[in-house]
């Protein structure tokens, strides 16, 4: 099992609940889409899976160990197997793309290798290959602040490709991309996950893409799991209930979803 969550709750610093009694089992190599209105707790759930913060209630294990019962160093070693790609990847503006991408190798590198790579990129070909899969190979030696928002987002994804993680936790990877690029990006993520037998948990705003590409859909609302079902079992009503009275932008996409229950398969 990649992740096992039993009754997991997470509270913010201001004591408000971000997650409530979440039960979730995700097997190694599974590909799961997280959907739900803004503020439903998708990002918090991904951060919990990435061991970024301990759950305030319940049991959580990743790769069959309970990270928060491990010593600090062992937990940190575990984090190297999990890759969290935040929605807007925070990259130092004056860093070069090649360095930003190769930072995905940091957990495997010794300090010496890391420093050497700052002076002369350690594995530029790997970075080039990763960028090429997102059509960004021309930007290999450009500076991060010369990239557009969408390019920066894909640069963060290229970092995911060079990492050696066994689970990809990706937060809204398509928020700054146009539809064609969205599709290509999602394809690339899924191909990579399949090729390494890595688990992929991806939060998405675009319901139709989630239903079209992911075999398993988890709906989150108000910090609780609203449904957790195979794609075929997700009905129009379930989606409508999930987004009822929530933000308009998400609801606008619903008709598309409903019209094509058998969405074109992704890779």
């Amino acid at each position: 099992m990649s992740f096992v969550l039993r009754g997991v709750g997470v509270r913010h610093a201001d004591q408000s609940h971000a997650l409530h009694a979440v039960d979730l089992l995700i097997a190694q190599g599974e590909q799961v889409a997280l959907i739900g209105p803004s503020g439903a707790g998708k990002t918090t759930l991904l951060h919990t899976l990435a061991c970024a913060h301990p759950p305030t209630a319940g049991e959580f294990s990743a790769f069959d160990v309970q990270p928060w019962k491990l010593k600090h160093a062992a937990r940190h070693a575990l984090r190297a197997r999990l890759f969290l790609a935040p929605q807007t990847p925070p990259l130092p503006p004056r860093q070069r793309v090649v360095t930003a991408v190769l930072a995905g190798r940091l957990p495997q590198w010794s300090l010496w290798q890391a420093l050497a790579s700052l002076i002369k990129p350690g594995d530029p070909d790997a970075a080039h290959e990763a960028l090429a899969r997102f059509n960004l190979q021309d930007k290999l030696y450009a500076r991060v602040d010369r990239l557009s928002g969408g390019e920066r987002q894909r640069c963060g994804m290229a970092r995911l490709l060079v990492s050696r993680a066994d689970a990809f936790l990706v937060d809204e990877p398509l928020s700054a991309l146009d539809p064609a690029l969205s599709r290509q990006t999602l394809d690339t993520l899924q191909q990579e996950a399949t090729a390494r037998n890595a688990t992929l948990v991806c939060s998405l705003h675009q319901v139709e893409l989630a239903l079209g590409c992911f075999p398993r859909i988890v709906g989150l609302r108000d910090g609780r799991i609203a449904f957790d079902a195979a794609r075929a079992e997700v009905t129009e009503e379930m989606i409508a209930a999930l987004y009822r009275n929530a933000g308009r932008e998400a609801q606008g996409e619903l008709p598309v979803t409903a019209a094509s229950p058998v969405a074109p398969r992704c890779a």
């Binding site: 951060h47 990435a50 061991c51 970024a52 940190h76 070693a77 575990l78 984090r79 190297a80 197997r81 999990l82 890759f83 969290l84 935040p86 990847p89 925070p90 990259l91 130092p92 503006p93 004056r94 860093q95 360095t99 930072a103 995905g104 940091l106 957990p107 590198w109 300090l111 890391a114 420093l115 700052l118 990492s163 993680a165």
Partner: protein, 263 residues
């Protein structure tokens, strides 16, 4: 012509403060026992004039000018090396001083940096002369020690004010603390590091020019030497060289800073 009336509306507290300042100024003049007589009598004016006339014309013989160039080189080297050493040590000390190694380390290192900073280069030079002996090496060390205090604190502030997202993303993905520091924190503050360091270097060139007055090398040492032998023409050349160096450095640094920290 109408006499201007001072602007009205002064709060009593501010007025008291201003009166206090005035009292401080009066007390300063009163207690200092200033010898204006030495300056404003006809006799004094004549001797001052003679003193100033001694400067003209500045010594311009080629061998002497070569020595001045060597002195200027020495001054520049002292300032560059001192600033370079301070950059490295200041950066190393900025890490604990920014609270990354805990609150008590932060307090201790910040106190140390404050002490280094509040003692000027010249005083450090006088103290370091004992350990390093007369000459530019003591001056270099003195500049390094004082500048470490200044830069260490500026760097620590820059690190503290940094948005943490870049670094925490790498940490969450399993990078070591040092790895994340070098790949996220450092590149983010590097423009600030550069501009602070260049600014201090500019300051240090000026400081290095005068450090020699206490025997710590550079143009200052030449100035002190020739003045104490009453070789006024040589002293005048050294002063002109100092002025030139300071003006040139001002211009170059202004341009360089604008280019390096632009965009």
């Amino acid at each position: 012509m109408r006499r201007p009336v001072p602007p009205p509306i002064i709060q009593p507290a501010t007025l008291a403060l201003l009166l206090g300042l005035l009292a401080l100024i009066c007390a300063s003049f009163y207690t200092l026992d200033l010898k204006w007589g030495e300056l404003f009598t006809a006799d004094a004016a004549r001797s001052s004039l003679e003193f100033l006339q001694g400067f003209a014309p500045p010594e311009a013989a080629a061998p002497f000018l070569l020595r001045i160039v060597a002195g200027a080189m020495e001054t520049l080297s002292m300032s560059a090396l001192g600033t370079g050493i301070a950059f490295v040590i200041g950066l190393a000390l900025a890490v604990p001083a920014s609270g990354r190694l805990g609150g008590s380390a932060r307090a201790v290192v910040r106190l140390a940096l404050n002490v280094l900073r509040s003692i000027p280069e010249l005083v450090w030079a006088v103290i370091l002369l004992i350990a390093a002996g007369l000459g530019p090496f003591a001056g270099t060390l003195a500049l390094a020690v004082h500048t470490t205090g200044v830069l260490g604190r500026l760097f620590a502030d820059a690190l503290e004010n940094l948005p943490p997202a870049c670094e925490s993303t790498l940490r969450i993905n399993g990078a070591s603390a040092l790895g994340a520091f070098f790949y996220a924190a450092l590149p983010q503050i590097s423009p600030q590091l550069m501009s602070y360091t260049l600014y201090r270097w500019e300051n240090n060139i000026r400081a290095a020019a005068v450090l020699g007055v206490v025997g710590a090398g550079g143009l200052g040492q030449m100035l002190k030497y020739h003045l104490s032998l009453f070789q006024m023409q040589q002293a005048a050349s050294v002063i002109i060289a100092m002025l030139l160096m300071i003006v040139v450095v001002d211009g170059v640094s202004f341009r360089l800073r604008r280019r390096l920290t632009g965009n």
